[in-house]
Each structure stands twice: as C-alpha cells, then as structure tokens.
Point group: C2
Chain length 361, copies 2
C-alpha cells in the first residue's frame, strides 16, 4: 500500500490505526456476526459505541454533565439554520463575527430569518485575520455571539476566547479537539466531523443542557435540539458508521496523550511549514496575518500561478496530495489536522524548500 | 466468521459481497493512497462514485433525465418536514394517507405547519392494511398525495399505485428498489437507505426536475431542494461513505438481475414465511391483512407473550437475529430485504415449524 500524505481540508486524513481497526472488524463487529453498518441502532452493541463516544468527547473537552453531546446530520450548514431558528428572534437577535465563508454563511442564514446582527467582519481584509476582542460589538440583548473558531479556507484561527456577556456559540468544524481550550466558556460548540474527527455524515454538537432541554413547538421535529437531547440522538436512525469511527478517533486521541499532546504535535507541524514560509525571502507568502495563523490550515501563495500549478503537480509526484488552495484565496493550503503525522509536515516542508531552490528564478 | 441471519428492520443486512469489497479496499480506494472516507468530495475519484450511484439508481428505476437523484442527510424524518415546507401552503394543502407510524409522523409535520389534509387513515384498524384506491379522498387542489409505500412496523405494503390527479409522493424507505414499479407515476420518491440500500446516513430522493428546480427563497439553504439539485448534492460535504456503499449495492442489484429478480427473490422469501403462518392452524397469527401483506417485513404474533420471548431467545441460539417485533405491534417481525438470502428465510421458516411442533401445547 502506497499511503499518500493527504493535506485535503475535508474529508481529510484519519489515523491509520483507526482505519486498520475499522477494516479488521468490518465483517463482524464485536462478535455480533454482522458488520457495524448492519447493527440496529437500538441494539446494545451499537448503544455502547454511541454512549462511549459521547462520554469520551466530554472527557477530552473536560466538560461535566451540565453539557450534552448531540449527533445531528446535515453538516455544519444545517446548524447555520438550526441555531437562529432555535435561539434567536426578532426581539433577541443573534450576533455574528464574519471571518470567512462559513462564518458568513452562518450569518446569512440568520439574515434570511430576519434575526441577525453583525458583531464584526474582516471581509474588507480578505479575511486575513480574525477580529480582536475589542472589535467585537455585541449587544447585551443578543441571543448569542456566533464565531467560527478556525477558518478553513483562509487559514485563520482565534487564539483567544472572546469574553462576552451573552452565550458564546462556536463552529469548530476544523479545529475541534485539536487543542485544549476552556470549553466551559462556550454555551454551544459544533463541528462537522469530516475535517478533524471522522467520516463525513455527522455533526457533533456540544451544548449546555439548560440551553437545549426545551425547544419551540412550532419547529419541525428534526430541527429542534430537544428532539436530539431527549432521545439521546436516537429519535431516528443516526449515522451509525460515522459515529462509530468518531468514537474510535476519540479513543485514539485519548490513547495518544489527549488534547495537550495533540496541540503540541499540531503546533510543531504548523511551525515547520510557517518557518519555511517566513524564511523563504518572500517566495512563499502566507495569506493569514501572523497573529491569526491557523494551526490546522496553512495557506500561502507562490510568486505566480504558473509556479502554483507546477507546485501542485510536483507535490503529487512526491506523494503529497491535496495542497491546492481554495479558489477564493488561490495558491496552496496544507491542512494538518490531528491525524497528519509530523513526518507528513516534514516531507512537505522539505519539498517546499527544494521547490524554492529549483524555482527561485 | 459466524455470520448470523439478520432480520432487523434497519439498519439491516447488506449483501456480503458488497461488505467484502468495502473491506478489501478500505485502506486504499481506487489507488488514491487513501481510504474512501478520506477522499475529498470535490476530487474526481469520489465524483465518479457519486455520479455512478445516481445513474445506476435511475437506470434501475427505469427513469429518464426528467428525474433527478438527490442525496440528503437527516433521515426520512427530515423529509417529513422538507416536503410540506417546500411544496404545501395554507392555500394548497398536502394530502396524507396515514397507514403507520412513519406515515403519521409525516402527516404530523404538515399539521404542525398548518398545511395538512387527511386523505385516509387505517389507524382504527391498528394499521393492519393500507387503504384501497376508492378510500383515498384527495382534493384536486392538493399540493400532493403523500403515501408510505411499505409500513415497516406493521408489515403492510401497497400492491397498487394510487391513481390521483395531484402529484404522488412516496416514502419508500423500506421497499425502494425491492421490485419493479412504474416509478413515472410518482413525482417524488424518497428512502432512508438503512433498510434496503446501505449504511444509515443518507436519504435518496428521486424527483421530477420540474418540481425541484426552484425553491422558496424564504427557506433555509439546507431545507431547499434546489440547493441539492443545483449543486449535484455537493453544496456541502455529503455523507460520502454511505453514498459509496449505496452505489455498490445498486451495482450488486444490477449484477444480480435488477429489480425483476429482486422481486422474485423477495416474493419467494415472503411466501416461505407467510405459508408457515397460514398453515400453522392459528399458532402464528399474521398482523397484516392478506391483501396488504408486505414483502419486506413479515409481522406475526404467537399464542402468548411467554412463547414470544422464548421464540426470540431460541431463534438467536439458532443464528436468527433481530426477529423481535416493534412494541406497538408486539410479537415478531422478520425483515427480509433484498440482501437477505433465500436460505435465511428457509432457515427461519424451518425454525418456525419446529418451534410450533415443540410448543403447540
């Protein structure tokens, strides 16, 4: 097997040990005589998987039983709508910090519902940074402040937790469980798992129980948080395979030192790449401002688009896949989530240096 | 490997050949050097899977390019809300035939939105049958008639396609692709795949393009059918693994004779079980009326609950899993979807006869 270094932003690389485990037990899960994808979501062998995954996520985040873990389908994009539908109103608007495409999409859903207020935007600066604390204008009557913790496309990330009087909500799709944070400062956190945590198909929502125990009766069943809360995310058939793999990834994080060690490894990988950029005499230009640099997605340009195309092609020939950036930023993006080995970042860093030597003109 | 006969209603048994293929290529999909769950949804190897699955589904249903296949998350339960939100209004109600729990849940979502009309109900008869054609009261101004083609819990199924003046919508979660039908008579068909078609996590929607090409702007992005239609179900990250397996199941159906052969096999399995019931001198009592009997879910009671418990336990000891019925019907339910081998139905039929001989009192 020729395993590539997969720098795709999501779906993204997963721990090889986890994939091997899934493969090994794929035809007979836990001596049930069936595949995990054939096991009833009401059967004990699956319930064990489901509840263990929830417990491990809370444990990794150091959260107590005043928080609940929900598994919801539809991607972060459905959360963009569910959040204002459940928590905002014309009298109590949702406040949004717009720091990238997904943050803006979240804001737009609330605008469409007529319940949005802009707290900050860095759109004028092509989203090259996140706002600092005193740029956040949050009305004390807001239902919440919504932020996108890590902006996958632009390669920016908050390196502080906003202090606000209102409940803090965060889309952590691309950096959940990548580093320890004081998660208690958040009332609701959510993440599409396909970046850092598992196979596409489920969103993890971690929320204060007091927030989600009763939803508006006017909302459709599947758009009410209390449907998921009251039924342990088993009101209807959940995406069992995605949850099962997420559970294994959470175990893998625990077995490898937890969020502290993840953060150390992620920092090391990011430094390897940012150092090459900073020491390239301008050959590589980082998109993100230094104090907003993401530890998950490293975005950078080359001197011209021709070299950028060449970079992508030669990288692939060197077993480095998925480094083409998003069209809105151009250039390159290296996504270095938890499961990317340090060796992968080393290989990319060496390739970048070699590519520069050969092409500096 | 001790593979059981899995009679669970969903998640349910899948073709062993498909599971083996998934396992064999799980660490390296299509020579990409990564697992299918790590492949970007924007990358060609995945797009091929996605588009092939769509094409195979349409081909199996003998539908032309005036129909579109969508992949949507959230289960059939989210469709219960999306359908009235997209197509019904206070002026143009949605009509519903209530023939079981899921059919009633669909109706309730429309009631909650204030856009529902009851076309028929067999609730008074404990859902032991589906209505016949002339019981369906559908106002010609209805936005649609919604039916649930096969009622998993009660074990009933339509053996005719209702003739109505308004667009016909059907939840086929538990019998889609189990038999040939004149699918052109339907405007919208949907199915959560975890019963007959793949791993939980995706709903297949097959709809007339003219119906879904433009949705109401007031709806949230992820609740608009045109979001999925205009972006080939790739607006956001789809549940790639579920779609990939569904594609393999569709191929397996094609390679095994298509819907005609599936229907023959399914009929044979159902007859094996219904014959035991009918020839048991009342020891086994079928729940469904004969003309509404499902070919997918065979429901029956035993003389008393003690014997029912014993049946479940002894079945399991004989490698027969998942035959306990839903609490609303009690007794037994044997789900015999496409992937259940005829041998499985034979083993269960023999077990039933033996159990009766030993326990007829």
């Amino acid at each position: 097997m020729n395993r590539v270094y997969n720098f795709n932003p999501g779906p993204a690389t997963l721990p090889l040990d986890v994939l091997k485990e899934v493969q090994a037990e794929f035809l007979d899960f836990d001596e049930t005589g069936m595949s995990i994808v054939e096991v009833s979501h009401r059967a004990k062998p699956y319930e064990k998987v489901h509840n263990q995954a929830k417990a491990d996520i809370l444990e990794l985040m150091n959260l107590g039983d005043d928080y609940e873990v929900l598994f919801i389908q539809g991607g972060a994009s459905l959360q963009f709508a569910m959040i204002p539908m459940n928590f905002a109103s014309k009298d109590k608007l949702g406040s949004y910090a717009v720091t990238g495409i997904f943050a803006r999409n979240a804001y737009k859903e609330a605008v469409n519902l007529g319940v949005a207020k802009l707290a900050a935007s860095t759109e004028d600066e092509n989203f090259a940074r996140v706002p600092c604390q005193n740029e956040l204008k949050v009305d004390s009557n807001s239902a919440y402040l919504h932020i996108c913790m890590n902006n996958t496309i632009y390669g920016t990330e908050y390196h502080y937790i906003p202090e606000v009087e209102v409940p803090l909500f965060a889309d952590m799709s691309s950096d959940m469980l990548s580093r320890p944070l004081d998660f208690k400062k958040f009332s609701l956190i959510y993440a599409g798992v396909q970046k850092n945590l598992g196979p596409a198909g489920v969103v993890i929502v971690v929320a204060k129980k007091s927030l989600i125990e009763k939803s508006l009766d006017s909302l459709p069943t599947m758009l009410r948080y209390d449907t998921f809360y009251n039924k342990n995310s088993l009101y209807n058939t959940p995406p069992t395979f995605s949850i099962y793999v997420v559970g294994k990834v959470a175990q893998w994080i625990k077995n490898n030192g937890g969020l502290k060690v993840m953060a150390q490894r992620n920092l090391k990988k990011a430094q390897l790449l940012y150092n090459v950029i900073d020491e390239s005499d301008g050959f590589y230009k980082g998109h993100a401002q230094e104090d907003s640099r993401s530890l998950m997605n490293v975005t950078f340009r080359l001197p011209n688009e021709e070299l950028e195309k060449k970079f992508v092609a030669e990288a692939l020939a060197n077993n480095i896949s998925g480094v083409k950036g998003h069209r809105l930023v151009g250039g390159m993006r290296a996504s270095i989530y938890n499961a990317m080995p340090i060796e992968g970042a080393e290989v990319l860093a060496e390739f970048m240096k070699k590519f520069q030597r050969k092409n500096k003109g």
